[in-house]
Symmetry: C2
Subunit: 280 residues, 2 copies
């Protein structure tokens, strides 16, 4: 299956129900783990070439395109692994990664999109949001961090914001990594069992876990309200880490293939420069 066809399989449709997705499934891919690991390595090369071309176009000022990968998920679903093993495969010079934490006091004094707008990728870059403005309608909703009317307002504000970003040349790729609560329990338990993983564990993770159904309902509302043609959502089953990484890589490939960046042609006289250089 090519990257575009795969992207379509993972892109959610009208009437999409998160409940219907099996976190153990591997939609669009018939291979098993060993195949997936092999294909991930192969895909990195293609991704790297496309990324370099995108970067090159922007360096000489002929491109306005960028890609923005938005990653959302419950704790331990594998966002970090995507960043390391997929995004980490391309040249760091062309990547703009932002890990959004709980907002600072200064950030809280502005609209929730203020800090996000500042981190949109410039032309030529692959921007990656590890968490994002969606936290403001996920934990924001579940934990009632803002009045209900404000939460309601945010869905529309997000759609307007993303439509503007898309119009400016940013291909927005929104991904929810979907794990089962059983898989999360096993991953969190591993963090507790390994002293070198204790730093990744936070007692608050269990508090959020106890609200699993509320979070899934908040995600469903996000999908219902903010999956737009300009910025569609993709739900990636993520109980198999190898599959999730491969799938996100394919989504990035499809986005870059859609842009189809080309090596820029020289805006100088190549032969004249060769002579000048030879004489120098």
């Amino acid at each position: 299956m090519n990257a575009h066809a795969w992207a379509e399989v993972l892109q959610i449709d009208d009437g999409f129900r998160l409940d219907d997705v099996d976190p153990d499934s591997t939609p669009g891919y018939r291979g098993r783990k060993a195949d997936g690991v092999h294909d991930l390595k192969k895909g990195i090369e293609e991704l790297s070439v496309l990324q370099e071309r995108l970067f090159a176009e922007s360096r000489v000022g002929v491109a306005k395109d960028a890609v923005l990968l938005v990653l959302q998920a419950m704790d331990s679903a594998g966002k970090g692994g995507i960043v390391r093993h997929v995004v980490g495969g391309v040249d760091p010079q062309g990547v703009a990664l932002t890990a959004f934490k709980a907002p600072t006091q200064e950030e809280l004094e502005h609209d929730f999109l203020w800090r996000v707008a500042k981190r949109l990728p410039e032309p030529g870059f692959i921007g990656v949001f590890d968490r994002s403005h969606y936290e403001d309608v996920l934990i924001g909703r579940v934990r009632e961090l803002a009045p209900a009317a404000e939460i309601e307002r945010r869905y529309g504000a997000i759609n307007d914001f993303e439509a503007d970003a898309a119009a400016s040349g940013i291909r927005i790729l929104k991904v929810m990594l979907h794990i089962s609560p059983e898989e999360q329990k096993s991953r969190l338990m591993e963090r507790l069992e390994r002293p070198d993983k204790h730093w990744k564990y936070n007692p608050g993770d269990v508090d959020e876990r106890l609200l699993w159904d509320d979070y899934m309902a908040a995600y469903q509302t996000v999908f219902d309200r903010t999956s737009t043609p300009a910025a569609p959502w993709h739900v990636v089953p993520a109980n198999h880490k190898w599959y999730a990484r491969l799938a996100v890589q394919e989504l990035l490939l499809a986005a870059l293939q859609g842009i189809d960046p080309q090596w820029p042609t020289a805006d100088f006289d190549v032969d004249a420069e060769k002579k000048r250089l030879a004489a120098s």
Copy 2:
């Protein structure tokens, strides 16, 4: 040779003369290219583990250490390759890369260190400057972009700035990649001969190349005036790309080994959390 001994070989001494460095040499390393490529791969693993520990310490708030790699060089000396093949080997989550361009109007309205201070790495991060505040005493001096008295002032200002940064916990590692003018000519010619490399070529590169001796003199002054115990300079012969990458990796390893980050111990009751998680 271990990383510390190697770092000492590359760190410049009192009385250091750039003229005495052979850009073709491979100080501290007896192997050849195939060995170097192999050792680079091996070193990435050690670097990754140390980097993850550094990052882990900061995530739980027990560390104040960071590393800052400052890369300076003539065009085509291989800064980009260092970023891609050395820095690119560690988890992007722990890297803060800044490529400094010609200053914007807003940046010009501030002191030359204003934009640099904002990009110092936070605890837990490896910061990388691809070009830096040293441009302000390199091209700044050669092209007389500021009055002579202001250029003079900057050396002291840099030392004070870097001493403060070091005191706050940032290990500063300053590296000049040193190529010969003949090697640069050959690399620039390759960029002209390959259409997929044209975007990396800029006619201005030849203009700067014609001022080679002036640049070398400006670098010598930088070394004389700004190599301090808190922020020493290292000159890495860079005609062999494989050597330069390996050497910078060793410098990073030495810096991280000096910090000696440890997996943080849990600040929660592990057994109690296991029970709470099991019951969830």
